[in-house]
Symmetry: C2
Subunit: 446 residues, 2 copies
């Protein structure tokens, strides 16, 4: 009786089908499923998340960074204590309060020389993507090209804004300029307007690939010829395993075709939630008025988050100040850590699957020059069902590569991330993974 | 010669007309103009910004709040130091880490009893608006009703997402339920689908009006009958000047028609950039699956900012803990401050424009029961040109009410905010404002 009354009084639910289509996007479902599996098998050893290592970070560092930032304002820049207080307490400059420190760091670390006014500080790199896409895309035919397989953050943001996306298949050396050119032309032929290309030139998530310097130069030339902007995302660029760091697209950009998206989540800490975008393009308005694209992004930011947390900015600002605005040097230990974890992962894969065995099985993997991720080709469908078997029976998690493809690719590939694992966990994880792959391969044969 | 070469090499600018239409929205232009005027007349006394008073806040409080939050995790909840470190450093729960503290505070302060799972912690209330609008609005005919004059944050977010907006004229007692009903019907008659109404029930920005309790009840009944959701924004509810606090719409909501948007910008500090939305509506998905709307918002948040800054949340979390999750009590001094500033403002207006004088001039103002804002009717166009004369000749700034109208209203009205001004500044400000109004009125006559 009570049940009936409660059921009758229970408010009508909303219909999911009536909410925005992004909520039923297969990619979101895939991500949710992944999170569910991780939650259901908490004991499983996980190569899934791309989270940074916590290294020598201590909680107390946060308060020290904030003090360093405040001391800098007071002693280096001559602010009063009242002014410092207002900076931390109050609403502030929409495009951020540590833009000068970021510009100085970009000059030191990347040879990117831009006015601080061109730097928009954002609530993580994700907001930088959102602002950038919102500003640049205005008509239904405007199309975003994405190197595929692709980070879900950018395709998700495009989905929120109902922006058309066209995947550009990448090769073993990352995005291929000729494929980009072909995609630009095919988009135009189909009535679309290719406005920008999203690309991760160094140690991409998910594939681990990197572009050669010549390919970067050629991509910039194509962008200039085809009136295409490039959204360069470079969260992993510091983490070189083999060879030398390569110049970012922005450092090579003479035609201002590149918007450089930046993250401090891997080089400082995700918990501050501070990222940025360098948008030094000029915008021509009515009456010959010229603004910076960064100023236009500011208008949009005032409608997404108003400000990036002043406290979060103070944390990152203090960290930059303590490093002398040389974040690459400050990341020496992290660079060594990620080099070591990737080398351990590659070594363990090699130990479990020596050349002959992997040929026999049809298993192989790439050997990224750095970053957090590598991809393993397997002789079976690396789908959610396989992932569940892997977690349940073998106690090891990974990410299906098909989650990162917009066009049904990556079915027999899986992504491994070793960024936050200690060496002995990697050793154990690859042992489990090898048992899983051997079992699946036997099953696929049988 | 060099000039010519540089001009030739200068990269082509982007065309503003080719960027998203929100960038050329008249409201944004109005806001920019306002900011420009403020910047050009830094010596002017400003009744324009609605920023909170800084009170007794000290920069050192930030680090204490963070320590309080960490101590709470360690000592009250039994976390290890490692777990606390990870909470602050790492990516975390998309919907936030202080949702339980917020739910407890809402119960104590507002009598709003919801599961912490229904609370989505956001990067300021602005992100809460963005997430909510994105989730709820899916088709071109979906229409957002807004009480008009209206806070630009909500109309701006709607503009970013290309959502149709219909203003509902408010009366002297705020949003009028009958006008809402009429707008719902008119929207439907025009082929639109009214999905939600945005409303500030207490001491609205910009008008200062408040809804009577009976009007709240009637609005909720209309929402249930007409299948309308209510987006309730209540940043000023604590700041009562006369009378008693009234229940929020969410506290009265038995049919789960209300999404309660929350801000800590006025009751804690804007610099943390922490807000929230209570979304306890059920969502019915395929196969009979039920989720909370908060879980759906989480999917969208993962594509806007991923997480709200853990550091910002720790600051607000520490502050909530120190207040025993009774933020209203913790705001006693702030409530007294805003009561006093508004009383001073009203008193000074009365002193400069006694009844006879204001009748003669055609000047009047409302007497809000609380909050930061009041509105003055003047006998001339209170437009940007008048604002510039006011700043240049009289050294006083205010906000044209027309900026908050979507339908050309508010031409002869201006908004005054006294939230962050000390009494002697208000006295001087009204003196200047009175001279300006007298001069304009004389000009309008002449």
């Amino acid at each position: 009786m009570t049940d009936t009354i409660e059921a009758a009084a229970r408010p009508r639910p909303l219909a999911l089908a009536d909410l925005h289509a992004s909520l039923t996007d297969p990619v979101l479902d895939a991500m949710n499923f992944l999170n569910e599996v991780v939650a259901r098998f908490p004991e499983a050893l996980s190569f899934a998340p791309g989270r940074p290592a916590e290294g020598t970070f201590r909680t107390e560092d946060l308060t020290r960074y904030i003090r360093t930032y405040c001391d800098h304002l007071e002693h280096e820049r001559g602010w009063t204590r009242e002014q410092v207080r207002t900076q931390l307490f109050q609403y502030g400059r929409t495009n951020g309060i540590i833009h000068e420190l970021i510009a100085r760091t970009l000059a030191n670390d990347e040879g990117i020389h831009v006015s601080p006014q061109a730097v928009v500080v954002t609530t993580g790199c994700q907001e930088a993507m959102l602002l950038t896409l919102r500003a640049l895309f205005s008509r239904p035919e405007d199309t975003l090209l994405v190197s595929s397989p692709c980070y879900v953050g950018i395709t998700g943001a495009a989905r929120l804004l109902d922006i058309a996306v066209r995947p550009v298949p990448e090769g073993a050396d990352g995005p291929d300029p000729d494929e980009v050119l072909a995609a630009v032309r095919a988009t135009r032929a189909a009535g679309g307007r290719p406005k920008a290309l999203y690309v991760v030139p160094d140690f991409a998530n998910p594939s681990g690939t990197s572009m050669a310097v010549e390919a970067r130069e050629r991509l910039l030339a194509i962008a200039a010829e085809e009136d295409l902007l490039i959204l360069e995302d470079d969260p992993y660029g510091f983490f070189v395993r083999t060879g030398s760091p390569r110049p970012t697209l922005k450092a090579l950009d003479r035609e201002r075709r590149v918007l450089h998206l930046g993250s401090f989540a891997k080089t400082a800490l995700p918990g501050a939630r501070v990222g940025y975008v360098v948008a030094d393009q000029e915008v021509a308005g009515p009456g010959g008025r010229r603004t910076l694209l960064a100023d236009e992004l500011s208008k949009i930011k005032s409608m997404t988050t108003v400000n990036t947390s002043a406290v979060g900015q103070a944390v990152v600002g203090g960290l930059l100040i303590e490093s002398g605005c040389r974040l690459r040097e400050a990341n020496a230990a992290a660079i060594a850590h990620y080099r070591s974890t990737m080398n351990t992962l590659l070594g363990e894969l090699e130990r479990h699957f020596p050349a002959e065995r992997r040929r026999a099985l049809g298993v192989r993997w790439n050997e990224p020059d750095g970053g957090f991720f590598l991809v393993v080709d397997v002789p079976f469908a690396a789908d959610t069902k396989a992932l569940e078997r892997s977690a349940r029976t073998f106690g090891v998690l990974w990410t299906p590569m098909s989650d990162f493809h917009l066009d049904g690719g990556g079915r027999r590939r899986l992504r491994l991330s070793c960024s936050a694992l200690e060496p002995e966990r990697i050793v154990e994880g690859v042992r489990r993974l090898a048992r899983f792959i051997e079992a699946e391969a036997a099953g696929a044969e049988g």
